[in-house]
């Protein structure tokens, strides 16, 4: 605000007068003196408050000292033509965060040596730094490697400015070098291996670089890569030791600093491995692991500490074609193919958050890059627990991290809603960006969809809703777009009902607003997916229909969702056609792609349902092969598909193979995810089934119990998977004549839970009822069985039961009818048997008559 003279004069007078009074009277005076002029009053109070805060303090402590700035500004001791020790300064060749760089030379016995002299910034100067520098100098000067820019000398100017004399490297920074020459990925990696060799040499001499970044890697015209500034970051960082890590790392490039560097933990070779991974990431896909543009410090920190970098293949999808062209590739799809798979795994292994999960040494990293270039299997895939999943299952940690991210997203949304003006569009992009980070985090964290209990995340999502709702009327397209993102997150973490509801609102808003048709289409497809997950099949169908009416070209996602819905209504062949077409149109997508993957699994499912078990097995085996081209062998998707293969072999009448497959995958997932993971439960369940088929009852019981205890812990007592496994257990136990009561008790429990959880029309409920009734009958409890089979729920269920459940039910009903001697009771009720009621018999008679009439 530009103060005018009158106002300042007035303020001055009032301020002066106030300060003549005791401090306690300031407020009263200010109120009285300013009268109605509330702006003046406010300003006066501000001035008085500042006066109170700074009174008695040294000017320098309030406004800072001019000295450092002055010192920096004044003496220009080093410039072209000046002499620094035995070196003549020729010209300034660069200025950077650490200081200025000059080209210089010295002549010795007729031999001219050209060097680069780097003058560190004045602010970095202190006696401690110089001491440390001299301590490090010896070690650094000892590094002699063609890939390391050699340290020749170090010292300090008279004014204390430290300088470093280095070998002069005339080259351009790594990325520029590669991009300008349109170098292929292979060529880039070959240059990168030179860097690895240099870093490895330094590590062997116990020197850690600490600040590896593209600008520190120069490539000479002849193609030799040189790494600059070895060890300097350590000297600098050490200079600030004890005054907080944020300051310590101020001069380090933020994007390549490893999480432990940010946290101020011990810096080891693992930091360099991390930074090398970051360089390699960008070298391959053209983008830094984290998008640091416009992100706040806190956001950055959260990303570096907690968010796994997005796979390069996903980042490439958002990148510009230029990046592919720079690598001699025709388009982004080609680049994505080239940088997925092993390359992705190598990079990701470098970028793990925990130092011990990275390559243990640069040599190991180099081995893998060499393996990759030679098309050999890489080390990164061997025996490594799958990182992101482990992160996810580590429940205490992930929700906290994502919770923090969500808070950022929520705050951004709130900001958007507050703005409500033209700027909202830009803000929306930011919010969308925050959300897409989240969405990616969730999607990559939980491919198995077994969570549902991430309470922290859910609470934050719930908190986002009210802020979001405010835009429903005023900015429908904004609402649609944000709500759709949040819904996707909800769907990804298994909150399908909640997700479907929010998608409904989003679709509502999209209809009213002018949402981009493509985005609208996507929203409707995702809503269909959420509705399907929530069990609302008809509405899912409706949403798909609505999407297809938008006139946008149908996407593979639409086809997959449509096929899933068709499978529900047993329209297998149509579903198979759609899925095959969707898979064909997604053939360039990598195995990380959720849709490309699920299309294949659904196709196998559809084929199985259609009775084509051999083709289903072929698809599954093909899918696993495809997975192996890009995924870590320990990736849950591979485990889940292998489990399906075991199932499929059993269905094909190859139980021995099924059993050996199931044993193998069970052992693998235990090793990979630990004994309490949901994958272990799934594998145990399938293993149990194979064992039962081959009549290994006691071992089957043991693995079923293993699965049950995991499911109960993770999914709860009434989750379908828990109940299915309990049912299988009952089927094992019931075969043992000595344990009939135990089995009956289990059946009763499972049936009871299913009734509540799935309702009467569920085939699972009907199946469980039949088994329970069969056990009752076999144990001579015919009356109880009959009551069960003629209950209101049973009658409802019979009409929707699948063929086998229906015929079983009818057979059991007839058996019970006879066992209770209903015909006899109908003619002459037996007073000696009060437990036998006429009513169930009558109901059974009606049911059977109807069944006979229908057939």
């Amino acid at each position: 605000m530009q103060p005018d003279a009158d106002r300042i004069a007035r303020l001055y007078a009032l301020f002066d007068a106030a300060l003549d009074l005791p401090q306690a009277e300031h407020d009263a005076y200010a109120r009285a003196a300013c009268g109605d002029d509330s702006a003046l009053h406010e300003e006066l109070c501000r001035l008085l408050a500042h006066e109170r805060a700074i009174a008695g303090r040294d000017t320098r402590s309030v406004f800072g000292s001019l000295e450092a700035v002055l010192r920096d500004a004044m003496p220009d001791a080093v410039h072209a033509g000046s002499q620094l020790g035995e070196f003549s300064i020729l010209e300034e060749i660069g200025a950077g965060g650490m200081g200025r760089v000059f080209r210089a030379e010295r002549s010795e016995r007729g031999f001219t040596q050209r060097v680069a002299i780097k003058l560190l910034r004045q602010e970095l100067t202190n006696p401690d730094l110089l001491r440390r520098f001299s301590a490090e100098r010896q070690i650094l000067a000892g590094l002699s490697h063609p890939g390391i820019c050699r340290l020749i000398d170090a010292g300090a100017l008279a004014n204390g400015t430290p300088y470093v004399v280095m070998e002069l490297v005339e080259g351009e920074p790594l990325f520029e070098h590669c991009d300008r020459r349109l170098l292929s990925l292979e060529h880039r990696l070959q240059i990168f291996r030179q860097v690895l060799a240099a870093v490895s040499h330094a590590h062997q001499n116990l020197v850690v670089h600490r600040d590896i970044k593209s600008s520190n890697i120069l490539v000479e015209a002849g193609g030799t890569a040189k790494l600059l500034d070895f060890g300097i970051a350590k000297v600098l960082a050490g200079a600030h030791a004890g005054d907080g890590t944020a300051t310590a790392d101020r001069y380090l490039s933020f994007s390549n600093a490893a999480p432990e560097q940010l946290l101020g933990a011990r810096v080891t070779v693992a930091c360099d491995v991390y930074a090398l991974g970051a360089v390699m990431y960008q070298l391959c896909c053209g983008l830094a692991p984290f998008d640091l543009q416009g992100a706040g410090a806190a956001q950055l920190e959260t990303q570096i500490l907690h968010v796994p970098p997005a796979p390069m293949s996903r980042r490439i999808a958002e990148a510009s074609e230029r990046i592919a062209l720079n690598r001699g590739l025709g388009n982004l799809a080609a680049l994505r193919r080239a940088s997925s798979g092993d390359l992705e795994r190598i990079v990701q292994k470098c970028l793990r958050k925990a130092p011990e999960e990275r390559y243990a040494s640069v040599e190991q990293l180099d081995d893998d890059v060499a393996n990759f270039l030679a098309c050999r299997p890489i080390r990164a895939s061997a025996g490594q627990r799958w990182y992101r999943l482990r992160k996810f299952i580590d429940r205490n940690r992930l929700p906290v991290a994502l919770g923090a991210l969500l808070l950022v997203a929520v705050a951004t949304i709130a900001g958007v809603l507050a703005a409500r003006n033209l700027a909202a569009l830009r803000e929306r992009d930011r919010a969308q960006q925050a959300l897409s980070i989240l969405r990616n985090a969730f999607l990559s964290a939980d491919p198995s969809r077994v969570s549902g209990e991430a309470v922290t995340v859910r609470a934050v999502l719930d908190a986002a809703r009210p802020a979001l709702e405010e835009s429903f009327d005023a900015q429908p397209e904004l609402y649609a777009s944000l709500a759709s993102s949040i819904s996707e997150v909800e769907l990804a973490i298994g909150l399908s009902t909640q997700s479907a509801e929010l998608f409904d609102r989003a679709a509502d808003a999209a209809r009213r607003g002018r949402l981009d048709p493509g985005e609208h289409f996507h929203l409707l497809v995702m809503r269909a997916r959420a509705l399907y997950a929530a069990g609302e099949y008809e509405r899912a169908q409706g949403s798909l229909h609505e999407a297809s009416a938008l006139g946008v070209e149908l996407t593979p996602e639409w086809e997959v969702t449509k096929a899933i819905v068709l499978l529900r209504s047993a329209e297998y062949q149509q579903a198979i056609v759609l899925l095959r077409h969707a898979i064909e149109s997604m053939h360039t997508r990598p195995p990380e792609d959720e849709w490309a993957n699920s299309a294949r699994l659904w196709l196998a499912n559809a084929l199985r349902s259609n009775g084509d078990n051999a083709e289903a097995l072929r698809i599954l085996e093909e899918t696993v092969d495809w997975h192996h081209t890009a995924l870590d062998p320990q990736h849950p998707r591979i485990a889940l598909t292998r489990i399906q293969i075991a199932v499929q072999k059993r269905l094909l009448g190859r139980p021995e193979e099924s059993l050996s497959d199931a044993r193998q995958v069970h052992a693998d997932v235990v090793a990979a995810y630990g004994p309490r993971s949901p994958f272990v439960a799934k594998a145990a369940m399938v293993l149990g089934n194979a064992l039962i088929t081959l009549e290994h009852a006691s071992e089957a019981e043991a693995v079923y119990r293993e699965a049950i205890s995991i499911y109960q812990e993770i999914l709860g007592d009434t989750h379908p998977d828990t109940l299915r496994t309990l049912f299988n257990l009952a089927e094992v136990i019931v075969a043992d004549p000595a344990r009939r009561a135990e089995a009956r008790d289990l059946y009763r429990k499972v049936f009871g839970a299913a009734q509540t959880r799935f309702g009467m029309k569920s085939n699972a409920t009907i199946l469980f009822r039949n088994s329970y009734a069969r056990t009752l009958l076999a144990d001579g409890e015919a009356a109880a069985a009959l009551s069960l089979l003629v209950s209101a729920g049973a009658q409802v269920g019979l009409d929707v039961a699948d063929d086998s459940n229906r015929s079983n039910h009818i057979a059991l009903l007839r058996q019970a009818f006879e066992a209770v001697e209903c015909a006899v009771i109908a003619s002459a009720p037996n007073p000696e048997r009060p437990d036998i009621q006429a009513a169930p018999c009558a109901a059974a008679a009606v049911m059977l008559a109807r069944i006979d009439a229908e057939s």
Partner: protein, 218 residues
């Protein structure tokens, strides 16, 4: 042991003539015009006096070695001694020199900082608002205070109340004590004290307001 080396360009001793005669004349003429209110000559003055200031700074460096403490006051005083000690400089009043020196130091500094920021795309100079909790700890570290913002605040203040702003400029950029400002500005001690007190509170308030706005925009 750390090698130290001096650049020959820094070793111009006190015995060596600082300026040639024509420069002296220029300075005399320019200073007179500046004193008479011609602010347009400030650039030329800066070009002439800046080398003197710089040379003095370099001399201090030489004399004291690496324990460099460049106090603006000493710098200004020494510059005055040197320039006034030469012949044909009519302004014997040290106070007038203080006034121009403070203005020049301020200009040189601000230009320098601006240039540095442009070089670094604004990324490397960290500014901290005065309401920052760690303000006191940070200002000790050097140019962490937003001198650009301070300069702008001071200009705003000068537009409305030049006398108050002048006191602040002398205090902040020439490092003068209240008594020296009293002599320089020919004002009473009480007035200088009140001016300074007001300027201090006003700048402080203005700077933290600016910092807050900048935070919100950023």
């Amino acid at each position: 042991m750390i090698a130290r080396s001096d650049s020959p360009s820094c070793t111009t001793g006190g015995s060596k003539p600082l300026m040639n005669v024509s420069a002296d004349k220029d300075i005399t003429a320019l200073l007179k015009r500046w004193k008479d209110g011609d602010r347009a000559v400030e650039n030329q003055l800066a070009n002439l006096i800046y080398p003197v200031l710089r040379d003095i700074a370099a001399g201090q460096v030489r004399r004291r070695g690496s324990q460099l403490t460049l106090r603006p006051t000493e710098l200004v005083n020494e510059a005055y001694e040197r320039i006034a000690g030469q012949k044909d400089v009519p302004w014997q009043n040290r106070a007038h020199f203080y006034a121009i020196a403070a203005t020049l130091i301020r200009r040189v500094l601000i230009d320098h900082i601006r240039q540095r920021m442009t070089e670094k795309h604004g990324g490397d100079v960290r500014f901290v608002g005065l309401d920052h909790p760690d303000c006191e700890a940070l200002v000790g570290a050097g140019n962490l205070v937003d001198w650009l913002a301070l300069d702008q605040s001071l200009s705003r203040l000068a537009a409305a109340h030049p006398a108050v702003a002048r006191v602040a400029e002398l205090r902040l950029f020439a490092g003068l004590e209240i008594d020296e400002i009293v002599t320089s500005c020919e004002l009473s001690r009480a007035t200088v004290g009140r001016h300074w007190r007001f300027a201090r509170a006003w700048l402080s308030a203005d700077l933290s307001a600016t910092a807050t706005v900048a935070d919100q925009q950023g």
